[in-house]
Structures are given as C-alpha cells and as structure tokens.
Amino acid sequence: MKLVSPLVTSAKNLSTEHTFETKPSLMHRAETEPSATVSLTRDDALKLYRRMQTIRRMETAAGNLYKEKAIRGFCHLYSGQEANCVGMKAALIEGDSVITAYRCHGWTYEMGAAPKEVLAELTGKVSGCARGKGGSMHMYAPNFYGGNGIVGAQCPMGAGIALAHKYNKTGNVCLTLYGDGAANQGQLFEAMNMAALWDLPVIFICENNHYGMGTAVSRSSHNTDYYTRGDLIQGIKVDGMDVLAVREATRWAAEQCRNGNGPVVMETETYRYSGHSMSDPGTSYRTRAEIQEVRQNRDPITSFRDKILGADLVTADELKEMDTEIRKEIDDAVHAAKTDPEIGMEHLSYDIYSDDLGHNMVRGVSPFVQLPHKVTGQAVNRK
C-alpha cells in the first residue's frame, strides 16, 4: 500500500488510534459476543478506506465497460456491499480461505488480485485472473476458491474446504458466502448439518442485500433471520454497512471456529445499489427512493469516511489524494482490460483434465477433428 506523504499528516495533529461504538450485533445461541466498542488505528483506517473505495471505483468501471459492450454476458456488481468483503478480509489470518458466489469482484480483489486482473477477466483478456476463461462469475486467487455461478452450490464446497483445514490442523477457517436468495437452497442445509456434526471451522455468511434477484426476502423466506437458520449452530447478525462492525464480528466468528466451536452462521445486513446483474435495472421491485435513502444514510464508504475524519485519524486532503491515486489505478486497469490481447484459441481445449489423457487429444466438432489437450500450469491449491 502506498502511504501518503508524511508532510501532510504532520500538518495536523492526527490521532494514531480511536475507539468507535458500533451497532451491537444480534446473537443466536451464542455464549459470547463481539464487543461493540471497536478500536481502529490510523493505518487501518487508511487501508480500509482505500480498499473499499478501490472496489467501488472498480465496480463503477465494470458497469461502464459493460455498457460499452466490452464486457458481455454476466456481470454482478458489488457496489454498496464493500464493507462486507473488506471488513471480513481484515479479520482473517494467513491461510484462511474464502468461497463465494457470482458477486465476486470485490472478493477477488480482497484476496489478492489487482483491479486490472478483475477487469481484464471481465473483458475476457489474457491478463485476467483466470486468463479470460472464466469471466464475470469465475474469478480466483490463492485461498480464494471462486466465484461460483450456480446459486448455493458453493456452500457445501465451503464445508469441504473447512474439513480440509480441520484435518490438516491448519488453524484456519473457511468463509463460505452466499446471498439471501441462496439461503433457501437445500444444499446449504446439507452443508450446515455436516459442518455442525463434524465441528468444522466454517463461517456460513449470508450477505443479506434484501433481494434474491427480483424477489424481496419477505417473499422468498419463511424465516428472514438468516443468522438463526443454522438451528443449533450459533449465529450472529451484524451491520453489513459498517466495515468495523463486520471486522469485529468476523474476528469473533473466526475465533469461535479456531477454538473448535465452529461452525458459525453470520448474517450481514447490507444493500446492493445496482440490479442483480446488468440486465436488471434494479428498480422494478424496489423504489428509487429506497436506493437513494441507503446511499445517503448508510453508504459504507461515506459513513466510514465521516467517521475517520471526525475522529481525526486522517485528513480530508489525504483521502482526496488517495481517491486520485485510486482513480488512476482503475483508469489504467480499464485501459489494460480493453487493450490487452485475448488468450490464444488453442486454450479452448486446455485444462479440461489433470493430465494429457493418455492420447493428448479432445474430441471436437466431428469425430475426425481432434484438438490438443494440455495442462497449462500448476494449480494454486495443489502445492
């Protein structure tokens, strides 16, 4: 991370640390709870702000690229939900893993991919994090198992990843994210049962943005208290628009898992500004006034900005300078995402199997046309 010039910081007497009161979390069958009083250092304030703002800019750029038809097909924006991935990632330790669904751009960035790798993946370019072979919903990074296209299908996988952590005694946890829509998929309940039965270090996290595609939670779910839906599994509901509350809740939940008290079900109360995907204007099932209200009063970035400025942790000039840097970084990423080449056509038939299939060929088009198969590299999860 690039830090701002010390001259600017010394110009004003800035605090190095500050405590904030967050909205208390709601708890379900839990014996302990995270503290609502949260301490934030100046460095962390700058870092959290930078990361949320980068995601916001990146998603705005992605939306524009889509409108320019540089991105085709599917594109699910994270704008409004930034405090979730940024807060959660800030609570993780080396080796913790994450798996999520298709609203994955922010998470991909958090887990180590540069904005350029995210945007270039969206435009299907070789510099994308999956070299353009996945596209919008399929992005990966070390310890980040994607980016999954099928609603809810990632949940049992998350339990499996957690079992590996437990079996290998890594002391790590797996964050398994899904939305309020996927919360009604049967697979999730199968996964929760296994996780509870075997005390797996997994945090099932429902990012509740209130709409599963176009259907409001009250019209899709019998029980909209998603943090209680693990039955006997302890649950926590946190303000998903407050990055500090999310960080503390995730720390608490991870601690439970690391101490052998997992799994945990966590719900974040959040909101998406855009439609479900680019083909959904997002205004046919909710009012513009509702979206505007959240933007004005609960925006995760604006509220965090006000908070850290008010506490004298940072100066407005610092944030302004940072915004300029971020804009430049995203502009460069957009340029690369537009101009970088696509992957070679021979990759069409690569990486289907783990080896050369014995005959090194994939059947294609007709029985007489064979395409070469090849494994292009070592998978990051198989070291």
Partner: protein
C-alpha cells in the same frame, strides 16, 4: 448483420477461421452465429399476431391458464415476468395464486411441481436457465420419470411441464449456454422437446402442458427476441414426437433442433450454391420420443446424413441418432454418418465463436459426405 455475413464469406471454412485477426474477431464474436428462417402458417389457422419467441411462449402460457383452471405457473421471478419476459402480465391477468415466485431452489421447484401434478393440478415450472436444472436432476430422473412405472400405473405426474431457456446466446459463458437435452434423453418416462421458433413453440408448449407425461421444454434463449413470426392467436397444439422436414432434398440429410435448425438451413443454401448438393433439412423437434420414421425415410432416400448440435460430441444426442441410422439405414448409406457439434470442452467464455458448430463446419462435413 449483413456486413458480418459478408466478412464471414471471406473466411476459410473450418478451423482456419481461428487464425483470424483480433480486430475483426471482436466484431464477429458479438454477432449471431445464424440467420433466422421464419416459419409461416396457412390462412386456415385464422388470425395471427407478430410475436417473437418469448411472446409466443407467453401466449401459450396465457392460453393454458385460461383453458385449464387447475394450471399454475411457478419459478424464480416468474411473478414479474421472468428474466426473459416469458410470463409477463400473466400474474396480473390470472392472479397471484396461479402465477407465483418460488425461492431460489431448483430441486424444490421440480419436486414441488411433481407433487402438485401428482395431486391433479397442471404444474408449469420454470427453471431460470437450463444450466440450473442440475440440482433438480434427481427429482426429474428419479421421481418424475419413474412415478408411473414404480406405482404400477396408480400414480403419475404427467401434468408436470418444466420450461427452461437453453443453448448459446453469444456471451453466456459456462453457466448460461449449455444444451443439456442429451442428459434427459437417457430417461424413459419423460418427454423432451425443443422448438425452433415462435409458431412451433406455442403449439408444442401447449402440447407438453396437456400431455399426460412429464415434459421438459427447452427454449433456445437466443431466439427469444431474434425469432419473429406471424403466430396464430388461437389455441392449437403441435404433435410431440413428430419431426419436420423443412427443406426437401436428395443428396444429404441434415438433422438439427432448436437454433441449429437455422444454421442447417443456411448450410443447405450454401451447399446448393457452392457444391451443387441438394440437402434435406429436418428439425427433430422432439428429442424424446424422436421421430424415427421421418429420419430413416429421409436418410434411406439421400444415403448421407449430418447431425449437428451445440452440446458436446461425446454422448450428445447425435450419437443416438447416428447409431440408430446405421442400424436401420445401413444398406442405403453412401458415407458414414457425420456429426458436427460443440467440442468436448466446457462451454467456453471468450472462445464461444470457436466452440460453435457453425455453418462452415457443417459445410465441410457436407463436402466430406458427398466426396466419401
């Protein structure tokens, strides 16, 4: 569109297309890979309205609800019209108790429909994309298809119809492009139907809804807006299990379904124009059951057959057709049956144009057939 076609005309057929320079590739990538050939109806079928595929599906569903008081429609987001607008206006017209949203749970949707149909209601379920049908695979294969058989004919869920948008759309990538018909062709007890356009879709969908067996109705999503025809406003059904001979010819039989029918019609034109070869084009219409008589009659006449589908080659439904044709038409065959299909790869993202069984690849196969 015409400019794209003129560019395409300069391409060398087959795999050499792949060497094409990136700049032009960009424009080709976003173009439709087919030209739509609309159907027409005779005046005897009465009043018609201009409809695209999603409107004709909507018309069929509207008719089903109006003519059958037990009919209900359910699925993800169908209440406000569905992601492809197929159910638009139906909730307002027929009520929230008859057209309603379900949670995001495909296995539940299918199973709920089976129960509903078993209890006597006409259940019309929508799976938002055919690619999402796999969580419901168990329910369809093990519950729906076998209900009648395992109860010795005492129970069935024949009033169930599952609709799902399928096939390539130009930019759908891995999970919004697949053609899973062959998986279901392997399941005795269900019917599998794929229309090629609005007129067929309305009649076939109504036929599926009224058929006393559980049916799966795959709608090629690229046709929802691009396929426009004059569709009869009346209530009519088409026969399930009956293939259509769309173009008559003497030299080669071309068999496809859904969008691919239109690719094959262009192939027939190209073959006539460039190779002086007369092709007979058959839309199989129904995958299960499929029209053996029409197919065998045609192949016995031409002696040569090309089958083309978007799904991968290995285990695609073309394999079943090819095997059956070699058994029943063996002495009439002048060349081995050819298949031109998607590759044995996952449905690709940026590589979609290279994956498709394009007219040029099909034309190459026609050449092979006649030069064998």
């Amino acid at each position: 569109m015409s400019s794209i076609r003129s560019i395409a005309r300069h391409l060398k057929p087959g795999l050499r297309v792949l060497g094409f320079n990136k700049g032009v590739l960009g424009s080709v990538r976003n173009a439709a890979h087919f030209t739509y050939f609309p159907d027409t109806v005779s005046e005897a079928q009465g009043e018609t309205t201009r409809m695209n595929l999603f409107q004709s599906v909507n018309s069929a569903l509207d008719t089903a609800l109006a003519t059958d008081s037990t009919a209900v429609i359910f699925g993800e987001d169908v209440g406000f019209g569905g992601v492809f607008r197929c159910t638009i206006g139906l909730q307002d017209k027929h009520g929230k108790d008859r057209v309603f949203n379900t949670p995001l749970c495909e296995q539940g949707i299918a199973a709920f429909g089976i129960g509903l149909a078993a209890a006597g209601a006409t259940a019309i379920a929508e799976i938002q994309f055919a690619d999402y049908i796999f969580p419901a695979f168990d329910q369809i294969v093990n519950e729906a298809a076998k209900f009648r058989y395992r109860s010795g004919g005492l129970f069935n869920c024949g009033k169930l119809t599952i609709r799902a948008p399928c096939s390539a759309v130009g930019h759908g990538a891995l999970y919004h492009s697949q053609s899973p018909e062959a998986f279901f062709a392997h399941v005795p007890g269900i019917k599998v139907v794929i229309p090629r356009g609005p007129i067929k879709a309305k009649g076939l969908l109504l036929a599926c809804i009224r058929d006393p067996n559980p049916c799966i109705f795959f709608e090629p999503k690229v046709l929802y807006r691009s396929a426009v025809e004059e569709v009869p406003v009346s209530d009519y059904t088409e026969t399930i299990g009956k293939a259509d001979v769309l173009v008559e010819g003497d030299d080669v039989t071309l068999i496809g379904w859904g969008t691919q029918v239109h690719v094959l019609r262009e192939v027939a034109d190209l073959a006539a124009e460039r190779l002086n070869v007369s092709c007979e084009v058959i839309d199989l219409v129904s995958i299960l059951p499929w029209d053996r008589d029409t197919v065998f009659k045609s192949v016995c006449k031409t002696g040569r057959c090309l089958i083309s589908h978007e799904a991968p080659l290995t285990g695609g439904f073309g394999a079943e057709l090819a095997a059956s044709i070699q058994t029943d038409c063996f002495l009439n065959l002048e060349a081995p049956v050819q298949r031109v299909t998607g590759h044995d790869t996952p449905f690709p993202h940026v590589h979609e144009p290279f994956y498709m069984p394009t007219k040029w690849r099909c034309l190459e196969a026609v050449k092979k057939l006649v030069n064998y």
